[in-house]
Symmetry: C2
Subunit: 233 residues, 2 copies
């Protein structure tokens, strides 16, 4: 069995005793029934990973001793996906889980002209992202940004390659054929696609139109295909 | 709004009247409330697509007139994924939906040494595959094969490139770096991975070991990553 791995956003420098957050403590003590002296790993989600030994545990509090610290380099390229909200929230949650496992680092929930609903479940989505990060043994937590209007997003300052995936008939490069860059951002539209006006505006702001294959894909599938191709060129 | 698109496995030659199956008729009449004279598209799932006009409809029967027939070339490459059953059936269903949208043509539910459960829900999975095929506007239905033991599968006669994705430390090529072939098959293991004995046996049968990136992926996520890379090299 692998060593339990938890997220604690505020970890101190070594050597240190550290009181686990209520959620982590509950998971260690009540779910995994860990005992004093047992080992775990903790990450702060910004590249630091610690070994930790459970020193004391009761119903209200669990304290660990932090030992070895490992600095984990971020996965490159650093990729962001700005994806329209979809009607069925379960589909967005699947997307966030899978794209986190695959290594996407920035999520921008996008409101475009044809986006129908935009219900932002910040806490729930954050918790899905953390679980997927731990499941896939990563020490960099993806950043879930605040929902953003299409017109604001395309004007956002960003380095590297910027792409827009759309379904209109037009000249588009297959995403996997573009040259690799360290930073990259792609826009994924709603079920009814981006509007022609939006596509033009994005191109005007330096976004490259790309295709994600010949099939018509659901929004969250398009997001996943983009995630795989961004991380595996 | 796009024209409704349905699957009917046994479509006659033109010109012809055709009585819709009970499921399709129910969807047309009771869900979409289609009226006589309205148009739909039908596919037989093996590359033929027909325009059809609703001629008569009542509670028990709906008849259409088939007109234009289009022969749709199959998507190439033709890819198969043999994937271990997973414990949570929702995850397998999600994989089948997404991999169908992406264009995978053969699914082999796999029973390997470390596969924990293998509950084959043939009718439900078939229906998920059909929905995803129609959703993504495809006219070739992926084939859901019977569950198969690992040792039988690796001895199965098959053309083209054969690959095994595993997590053991060993020499592995990134899947996206392999030369493109028209036919390809990949094996995806259970949560605990394939056993070393299984990996050796597959290599002995001509399977190339491949990696799907540096992160640890859940079985169904590995299947999805493989699907995207197989169809987008």
């Amino acid at each position: 069995m692998s060593i339990p791995f938890f997220f604690e956003p505020s970890l101190p420098n070594l050597p240190a005793h550290f009181t686990l957050s209520a959620d982590t403590a509950k998971h260690c003590i009540q779910v995994l029934r860990m005992k004093e002296g047992e080992m775990m790993m903790l990450t702060d989600g910004v590249g630091n990973r610690f070994d930790a030994t459970l020193l004391s545990a009761n119903k209200t509090q669990a304290v660990v001793l932090l030992s070895n610290k490992t600095e984990v380099a971020p996965i490159t390229p650093i990729s962001g996906i700005a994806i329209s909200f979809v009607k069925n929230p379960a589909r967005m949650e699947w997307f966030l889980e899978k794209a986190t496992e695959i290594g996407i680092r920035h999520f921008y929930p996008l409101i475009s002209t044809r986006t129908e609903k935009h219900h932002f479940k910040a806490a729930r989505w954050e918790s899905i992202i953390v679980s997927a990060m731990l499941q896939s043994q990563q020490s960099w937590k993806p950043i879930l940004h605040q929902p953003i209007q299409f017109n604001e997003l395309i004007k956002m300052k960003s380095e590297g390659l910027k792409m827009i995936a759309h379904c209109e008939k037009a000249e588009k490069a297959p995403l996997q054929n573009l040259a690799l860059t360290n930073n990259q951002l792609i826009l994924i539209g709603p079920e009814g696609d981006f509007s022609p006006v939006e596509i033009d505006a994005a191109i005007h702001q330096g976004f490259t139109p790309v295709s994600l294959g010949s099939n018509r894909l659901r929004t969250e599938t398009a997001g996943l295909v983009a995630a795989v191709l961004l991380q595996n060129r």
